[in-house]
């Protein structure tokens, strides 16, 4: 009886240990890929058209989902904001509420979540399939470094695209909020814009939002690239890797957002 219990406990501990080792190994391998992507970035800038091509696939192709989502998010913010603010007689502050919510939080965070779902999954699936169909091996055998040729341009494309997409998200969101607040609800046009202008700070709000979106860009793109690179070369392997990209990216973005916001509020 004691032997059975000892066996069960030891099996449980071994299971936990092996899972922990696998997680730490993946973290190390992901960090290594990140470092290599930085080291072999020269090609991405020397032949900038390679990076631009990826900016098109990751950034430009994500525009539609970003703009439509931003529009609705801005409209909902205005509706909800007005509903609360009018109770306190500050419905003119609706412009500030919409702008600050978008620039500080929702712009970078929702953009990153949508980016992970739209562009991140595409990157993982593409690289996973390149691995499955031996395209990466073929590149290696041609003496072409896949990290310099495949990973680095996609990495920089993600880092470049994310702040631009987040800025567009905030801009379109403010426009959506304006359309609901001013023409639909009847908030004063001048108060909407002037309060926003007076209370949104470039350093504390906009720059911090940009910093967040750059960090999210690095995290989401790197996670997508690593999952593709690490995917077992089977249909099932690529499918699991794509799912992991969305799950890990989303959790990482939300976690990082808390950490960054804490630092930004303290500093």
């Amino acid at each position: 009886m004691i032997n059975i219990i000892i066996n069960m406990v030891s099996r449980l501990l071994r299971g936990i240990g092996s899972r922990m080792i696998a997680r730490v190994w993946r973290l190390g391998a992901g960090t290594r890929l990140f470092m290599l992507a930085i080291v072999y970035s020269g090609e991405s800038f020397r032949r900038f058209h390679l990076t631009l091509r990826e900016v098109y696939f990751t950034g430009v192709m994500s525009l539609l989902i970003i703009i439509v989502s931003a529009f609705f998010v801005g409209m909902v913010l205005a509706l909800q904001g007005y509903n609360t603010l009018q109770k306190y007689g500050s419905s003119e502050a609706i412009g500030v509420l919409v702008a600050l919510a978008l620039v500080r939080e929702l712009g970078p965070v929702v953009t990153a979540l949508l980016f992970a779902g739209r562009a991140g999954t595409a990157i993982t699936a593409e690289i996973g399939l390149m691995k499955t169909t031996e395209q990466l091996s073929a590149m290696e055998m041609m003496a072409v470094n896949p990290i310099a040729r495949v990973v680095a341009p996609r990495f920089w494309a993600g880092v470049i695209s994310m702040p631009i997409l987040a800025a567009l998200f905030s801009m379109v969101g403010v426009l959506g909020g304006y359309l609901v607040a001013v023409p639909l609800i009847g908030v004063d046009d001048g108060a909407f814009w002037s309060q926003m202008q007076a209370n949104v700070d470039v350093r504390a709000d906009i720059i911090n939002g940009v910093i967040k979106s750059v960090v999210f860009g690095v995290a989401c793109t790197m996670i997508a690239l690593f999952e593709g690179f690490d995917a077992p070369p089977t249909a099932e392997g690529v499918s699991h890797a794509t799912t992991r990209t969305v799950v890990i990216s989303s959790l990482t973005v939300l976690g990082l957002d808390f950490v960054l916001t804490s630092f930004m509020l303290v500093v």
Binding site: E134, Q135, E140, M141, R149
Partner: protein, 264 residues
């Protein structure tokens, strides 16, 4: 001065506790077409990966142009690979690039040739494999045989001195098989290269190979010219060459007693 462009010396390799090769010796003379044959899972493709430096041997060494592959730095291995071309089993064409761009890929990546010269060279290579007219196609628009031919044009794009073929005949119709077969021999002779073919297609391989190695159980089970091997009385070679169902490689995978298993 050796005339062998690739030499495998007492090579052993394995992973995850599984031994794949046990002290293999092979030589690939300059200008010859040499085949490595054996059953599925016998480690033939891994030998190509060892020659290309994609994996490291656990013992022994592979020498390419007299240089030990696994002792090279990353840059050294890349330098060695510039003298190699490889045709992968399913072509491994870049699916986001057209046929033209696939063949131009190594030229654009590894040379400073002007675009006008790259254009001429690509058309030259595509003409050699009979697909100059398909230069605008995307890989998804090609049949299996055509994709293999484009991959062959890409493999020889920089006139390599060693061309490796991983199962070049697998899954092809007889016409495509004949075309690939002829191209391997003619490109080898035209470029003065050394070809290493990994295959289990006896008829086609014996037609073009100058020398054949048989790999079984991690060792070189037999070697010789195709004529020698056709006459071989070695049980494994005889079974393999004549496609016999049973022999040293049994039809039945190891299993418990049939009667006992059926009766529970």
């Amino acid at each position: 001065m050796t005339s062998n462009i690739v030499e495998i010396d007492n090579l052993s390799f394995g992973y995850n506790g599984r031994v794949l090769h046990k002290g293999i010796n092979m030589a690939f003379p300059k200008g010859k077409v040499v085949a490595i044959m054996g059953g599925s899972g016998s480690g033939k493709t891994t030998l190509l990966r060892l020659i290309g430096g994609q994996v490291k041997p656990t013992k022994g060494e592979v020498r390419v142009n007299g240089q030990v592959v696994h002792e090279q730095s990353r840059d050294g291995i890349y330098q060695l690979r510039r003298s190699m071309g490889m045709l992968f089993q399913h072509g491994a064409l870049f699916t986001d690039l057209s046929v033209f761009d696939n063949v131009a890929f190594p030229m654009r990546e590894l040379t400073d040739l002007p675009e006008s010269m790259i254009r001429d060279l690509v058309l030259l290579k595509l003409n050699a494999v009979g697909l100059r007219g398909a230069y605008k196609f995307m890989p998804t628009e090609l049949s299996g045989g055509m994709a293999r031919r484009v991959a062959l044009a890409r493999a020889v794009a920089l006139d390599p001195s060693i061309i490796m073929y991983d199962e070049p005949f697998a899954g092809l119709d007889p016409i495509s098989m004949g075309v690939i077969c002829g191209l391997i021999r003619s490109l080898n002779d035209a470029l003065g290269a050394t070809s290493i073919i990994v295959s289990h297609d006896v008829k086609e391989t014996f037609l073009i190979a100058d020398y054949v190695y048989f790999v079984a159980n991690g060792e070189v089970a037999a070697e010789g010219t195709p004529e020698d091997l056709m006459q071989s009385t070695l049980p494994f070679v005889h079974q393999f060459v004549h496609g016999e169902k049973d022999g040293p490689v049994p039809f039945h995978y190891a299993a418990p007693d049939y009667r006992a298993q059926l009766l529970g």
